[in-house]
Amino acid sequence: MRTASPEISPEARFAPGATPETQPYWDATAAGRLDLPRCRRCDQVFFYPRSSCPQCGSTDLEWVTCSGRGLLHTYVVSHRPAPGFPVPTVIAVVELEEGPRMMTNIVDAEPEDLELDMPVEVRFEQRTGVAVPVFAPVTDDVSKENDEMEVAR
């Protein structure tokens, strides 16, 4: 007898909730932006959002919108079922162009095609009441475009 397979859908996946100091981050993801705090004193962009700069301690912070581009820093391919997720799922850490690293999923890619330091770009996955930033490998077209831009420079 076959048992019904659990539902695989973003709505069934874990939905984080904001706290006052992280609300702007989640407001931004809902609007399709990856925003992070930047320290006005030392210029450090940092992850995760908090009320003072972890580098210099300043509370003089501003929110900036990140490019959404980064490099695949490290990952595992999880074979453990998590509610709403496919098996396997790629659990990764991405290094953002602005410097900070964050945990994420790599989507729209076969695990065997992944390589460390490959370029990735942000996507927003709609969960129940919240949009979660995930990343996908940069498609060839965009890479070519970037290469051409490099050449043009």
């Binding site: 874990f14 939905a15 984080p16 706290t19 074979h79 969960r127």
Partner: protein
């Protein structure tokens, strides 16, 4: 003059699958056995140290002890090493004479154990849990691929950590897994979080244990005839509650900081250590430990293990009880790592190494979150 501090009593409970024993009872049973080992009564104890669940007040109350020194440090599986360090400081300062450090965890059977943390707005819930994490096997393991990539340690060498520890556990009747395995068997086991297979992950068991920490003076006047284990040096450090926020995914800063403090205090170096315990929640953790404490150079840990130097007969016997991967792992394994060092220094381990005089224990807490180091010896 500073007081010398010793571990004068140490004992574990039964371990493995204990479906009829509660978390609290594991603490209490461990405490009773450790006190018996030290030949003390509960009324000779004036200090208690334990993790937040069920907590030092609950444990001491259950035992009928009214402590005047209380430590509830809860920073993951390394907490018991922190407790020993803090107890050492308290005893040296005269704030306590006899401190009982207890562990108990119904990690497998979950009897009298709280549910795992829930809620969706902690920092971890917001920035790591949304990504399909199912406990430590899918998050503590994330840095490893970068570590292998940058250090040139290999996947096969990662598997060798599990192979070496089975050589030890095969000599230990109390170990949960005792069959020796090959690299191919480790790599061919059920995939959990690629590159980690089941045999590169720790066990989930029930169990407990306790230590009696006291001044040498008190121990010599009141203790049993068991050899005293001298606390030569200790260190502690903590970095990030989120594994994704490690400063460098290929190095564990608190392994370096805590071990440097312990080496400095004890006046020893890696060359003086003849027995080593490194908390092995997963196969990569001992490799980080060997490199970050300076036992081997950068990128040399995998070959060191593969060449057998940490195995029986090797020059640096490591995780000689079989470790968290083969002996037992209740969730907060640090207590069991200390217990094995004590047994080796007393000469009463199941897989006893000849001539152990100085042992180092490195405890990891959380997922590369906190660490503490103890350097212990059978002479002052």
């Amino acid at each position: 003059m500073s007081r010398d501090v010793v571990i004068m009593g140490a004992a574990e409970t039964d371990i493995g699958k204990l479906p009829t024993t509660s978390t609290l009872e594991l603490h209490v049973e461990g405490a009773r056995r450790a006190l018996a080992d030290a030949n003390l009564t509960k009324d000779q104890v004036d200090g208690i140290a334990s993790v937040s669940v069920p907590g030092p007040v609950q444990v001491s109350h259950a035992l009928g002890i009214t402590p005047t020194y209380v430590d509830g440090t809860g920073v993951g599986g390394s907490s018991f090493l922190f407790h020993v360090r803090h107890a050492t400081a308290a005893i040296k300062a005269g704030y306590a004479d006899v401190v009982l450090v207890t562990h108990g965890e119904s990690g497998r059977s979950r009897v009298g154990a709280p549910p795992y943390p829930r809620g969706n707005d902690s920092v971890m819930a917001q920035f790591e849990m949304p990504y399909g994490i199912v406990g430590p096997p899918t998050s503590f393991t994330v840095p490893a691929r970068r570590f292998l990539h940058e250090t040139d340690n290999t996947l096969e060498q990662l598997a060798e950590v599990a192979v070496a520890q089975r050589r030890w556990s095969s000599r230990n009747p109390r170990a949960m897994f005792r069959d020796e395995v090959t690299v191919d068997e480790v790599l061919g086991a059920k995939m959990i979080a690629d590159p980690f297979t089941l045999l590169m992950c720790c066990l989930v068991t029930d169990g407990g244990g306790a230590l009696v920490v006291a001044s040498r003076e008190f121990a010599e006047a009141h203790g049993s005839d068991k050899p005293l284990v001298h606390i030569l040096g200790t260190g502690e450090a903590a970095t990030t509650p989120l594994v994704s926020q490690m400063e460098d995914m290929t190095r564990c800063k608190q392994f370096t900081l805590s071990s440097q403090a312990a080496f400095k205090e004890s006046g020893t170096s890696t060359a003086d250590i003849d027995h080593l315990m490194i908390y092995d929640a997963f196969a990569h953790v001992p490799l980080y430990g060997l490199e970050d404490m300076g036992f081997v150079g950068r990128g040399e840990s995998g070959a060191f293990v593969a060449e057998g130097h940490t195995s029986p007969g090797g020059r640096l016997p490591m995780n000689t009880n079989g470790g968290g991967m083969s002996y037992t792992h209740t969730g907060m394994y640090g207590m069991f790592a200390i217990q094995e060092s004590v047994r080796q220094l007393r000469g009463e381990a199941a897989a006893q190494v000849d001539g152990v005089s100085t042992s180092l224990v490195l405890g990891n807490g959380g997922m590369f979150m906190s660490a503490a180091t103890l350097i212990l010896a059978n002479q002052p």
